[in-house]
């Protein structure tokens, strides 16, 4: 015979599993890039700027610009929240994130190089970043 608390635990566990299965609970598994975004990155149509935001490389098209705008609005919201929590300005936080986002680009992805200010493809070696970057 099971105790009452053991029964409760089983009930709670199965309930949580069911919710996760339905996708109703944001689990620790983190959302990945949208396939369109991932494709635009790897093809060099979009890239990381020094200010912490995504940019369209070249003229692009309306669809691409809309996608970049959407991502940047979401980035800005995250930056603003975190900057406030850390007692920093939005620009300071965004710039720091930009340093890291450029570091994390994969070879072939685009970023704005510090010394030229131009879109540059990431190579195997470390990127050309602002000297203040960590």
């Amino acid at each position: 015979m099971m105790t009452k608390s053991a029964k409760n635990r089983i009930w709670l566990a199965s309930g949580a599993a069911a919710l996760l299965g339905l996708g109703l609970v944001a689990g620790p598994a983190l959302a990945q890039r949208d396939p369109a975004y991932a494709a635009a990155r790897s093809s060099g149509q979009v890239g990381e700027k020094m200010d912490g935001y995504l940019g369209v490389v070249g003229t692009g098209n309306a669809q691409l610009r809309a996608m970049v705008d959407d991502i940047n609005i979401r980035r800005r919201a995250v930056y603003a929240e975190q900057a406030q929590a850390k007692g920093a300005t939005l620009e300071e936080y965004a710039f720091t994130a930009g340093c890291l986002a450029i570091s994390r680009t994969e070879p072939g992805e685009m970023y704005v190089a510090y010394s030229t200010g131009q879109w540059t493809a990431r190579t195997g070696s470390s990127p050309d970043r602002d000297p203040r970057c960590p």
């Binding site: 959302a31 369209v56 979401r74 930056y79 975190q82 620009e91 720091t96 890291l100 203040r132």
Partner: protein
Amino acid sequence: MRNVNLTTPALRAHKPSGTGSNMGTKSGRAIVMGAVLLGPILLSGCIKLEAPTEPIVIELNINITQEVIYRLAEDAGNTLDENADIF
């Protein structure tokens, strides 16, 4: 005084189009010409969105100190990890 005020906006509209010969004409005609020329200028302005934005951003970033960046780096790294869909 009034003529100067009226022609000033018209002169600015003329300048980018490269027709400087209309400078100093009667204000009424200048306004009509200005309106005619302003249309294409406003339309062509829509295409050139990207170029002016970047230098401005870089100038703002000059005020950010390395000390602040180092203080925020760890937290920003976590932010990138936790929002992997938008980074």
